[in-house]
Subunit: 417 residues, 2 copies
């Protein structure tokens, strides 16, 4: 980081270079906000900072353009009037365990209230989570009403298909020692890889071991709640959940090569049913496009699958990704359970996912999964049979394992079809 | 950047610190790939690099986790067999103008062919664009068929609503002198803001003025083509277009506070019509969630709008964003026209957007817009009237300007409604 100056750039990437002691240490996992202390990652007074990276990191480059072009004053501080969460969430006992939540700030939605005194004293602490309310309407839900699968109740679900939801946006906040533990690597190795393998992003990762908190410039997550959010964390509350990793081509445009949007819509049906019966439904939407490989890699893999000798088939589904990307998947479900701990959830009664990686991560985190709900066969799009067979063969939850010879059949369209 | 070593980290963020001359200079805007040269931003041999940042920058942190955890070999190079574009795009004359395209690499989809000799000689050049084919199916298109607005033709549009598309994913590649020109700032000021206002991302921005190309860690764009892509750039070709900036809450979940998904679906209808009449339809989907402010800020603003004295109304629509974020918008449409230059497009016959900023940027870039197609009134969701009135009053294209007193009326839902 640099200290701002109108004349020259001063690199201050080593401890002590800021010329003053940091006043606000972070004590991750302490039971109260006062003991934990605020995460300060804003840029209006760099001497206050106690974290690496910045808010809304995935958009930090746009923020820089705004300052460079004169559209944004570099010392602007947000007016947080009326922005407080539309529904209370927490605190839950899990917030006081430094190992249970390592990839988000459990106090992130409450910054304006729990750190009000700090802010009044000039500390530029900012929310990393926002909670609001909305009405959503997906054409698939109208179809579910027409087919009699969903019944409008005039509250959660209206006749016209409108659904009342609470929703939360969460930016990532990483506690580096906890992230390193989760991946079973040394913190120093993690920091070095984060620095080197991003082409040198944030030298402070290697020069400032005293800064333990990092706001990575990656997409966060969005939560959609169905039913009464206040019931979460209470022992008797039934919970239904779809945990969904972004797939723009299907989620928005309905591409038929995968089951993403159909499974999402089905998961929302399951969530609405649960909420109508007095439980809580939850959709977790993670910004991890193309298994966190990005869409360019994804489309390169699509071409390689469609053109390979023998056609697009299940037995080579994962191999084609590995040829291009070097790995089959970079989503790292190890961090995924954090959001359930944040919500106080210890048991998921209906889990709308077949992924063995997601299920395994929950079990590892001590969260009970009672029933696994596969996607109904009739919702699988035509070109998505390759994906579905490949995933079942690789260990995804199913009662309908494809035969070995079935995996060799080209079931996907060629590029010119 | 560092040179990789098993023992220690060597900072090499200054020219010459790599201990060897760079062999592959980039000559931006030269008419042939051979003269322009490859952009080398991979990390398998840092001595080759001639750009700042890395591929799929928005996912670079995940890549680092993959290496740290041992899942990915740091020296993995992609096998690009069978990954070539599914449809040819370019070259177009605009590629040879260093001012027309500054935010993407026009040769990005052709890397494996035009730089085949470099790759064979050990240069780790990688695609920044991928072009594939798909079938998409959106429930709204089935509705349009049922309502008689769209007629299936068995080729572009099938009876079941399936639509054949070509699609392209594009990662950003910035030519910094060109970006600075576009924003009318000095290159050194731009570099400094990009470094400082991202909290110190990429010191090379300020220490390596000789490196002119930057792969920023932000989302890119996806293009959906309807009809024959090869017709683009030819004088007689009619083009219809929807340029859409991501809004996950509406695009995926159908939140009714804005017109995003309805306008997108309408734009796709317009694109299909144009393709059926022998032209080309194009949807450009930019990853700029919440006006590039991110979703946490967006939800904070929703709360402030809903709770402000006087209720959610058009006259204070932009002000609430500015209070929280310091600006109304960070999307910077100045860079948006690049993709049209890349496609050889000089005229857009049907432009499905009301935004004055988008329209102004196209005109500024010398691209003619013949007809502007507003969203049909019947498609505007209930809670989105505030947005629509505010935008019309602020200069958005309309034949139906709201009256001044209309802007003061609370038309949006309260949080508890």
């Amino acid at each position: 980081m640099t200290r701002q100056s109108s004349d020259h750039i001063v690199l201050s990437s080593h401890p002590g270079a800021q010329g003053q002691a940091r006043l606000h240490d972070i004590h991750w996992g302490k039971p109260t906000a006062a003991e934990r202390g605020p995460v300060i990652a804003s840029l209006t007074d760099v001497g206050q900072r106690n974290a690496i990276g910045s808010h809304a990191g995935a958009y930090a480059v746009y923020r820089a353009l705004a300052v460079a072009s004169g559209a944004l004053q570099r010392d602007h501080r947000p007016d947080l009037t009326n922005t407080a969460p539309a529904e209370p969430i927490g605190p839950h006992p899990q917030w006081a365990d430094p190992d249970k939540i390592v990839s988000l700030d459990p106090w992130g939605h409450l910054v304006a209230s729990v750190f009000a005194e700090h802010i009044a004293a000039g500390i530029d602490a900012r929310p990393t989570i926002a909670v609001t309310k909305a009405h959503i309407n997906m054409p698939e839900l109208k179809d579910a009403i027409a087919a009699g699968r969903l019944q409008p109740d005039g509250n959660i679900l209206s006749d016209n298909g409108d659904v009342r939801v609470t929703k939360a946006a969460i930016d990532p906040v990483w506690y580096l020692p906890g992230i390193a533990n989760r991946f079973e690597v040394k913190e120093s190795s993690l920091r070095r890889a984060l620095f080197e393998q991003t082409a040198g992003m944030f030298p402070e990762l290697v020069t400032r071991p005293d800064l333990k908190v990092f706001l990575p410039p990656i997409g966060g997550m969005t939560l959609y709640f169905f039913g009464d959010v206040a019931k979460l964390g209470k022992p008797g509350t039934r919970v239904a959940c779809r945990l969904h990793d972004e797939c723009n081509g299907s989620d928005v445009f309905g591409s038929d090569i995968c089951t993403c949007r159909p499974y999402l819509a089905h998961g929302i049906e399951v969530c609405i049913e649960e909420a109508q019966q007095g439980g809580v439904g939850l959709v977790v939407y993670n910004r991890k496009e193309g298994r966190a490989l990005g869409e360019v890699t994804k489309f390169l893999v699509y071409n390689a699958r469609k053109r390979q000798p023998g056609g697009d088939r299940a037995e080579t589904y994962f191999a084609r990704t590995e040829c291009v990307a070097g790995v089959q998947d970079m989503r790292f479900q190890q961090l995924m359970p954090d959001v359930f701990h944040w919500l106080g959830i210890t048991r998921i009664d209906r889990w709308a996912s077949m992924s063995d990686m997601k299920h395994g991560a929950l079990v590892e985190a001590g969260i009970e999964v009672v029933e696994r709900v596969p996607i109904p066969d009739g919702l699988i799009p035509m070109d998505a049979r390759v994906e579905m067979d490949a995933k079942k063969a690789a260990g995804y939850f199913t009662s309908d394992m494809p035969a070995a010879e079935d995996l060799t059949l080209p079931k996907g369209r060629a590029l010119d079809e």
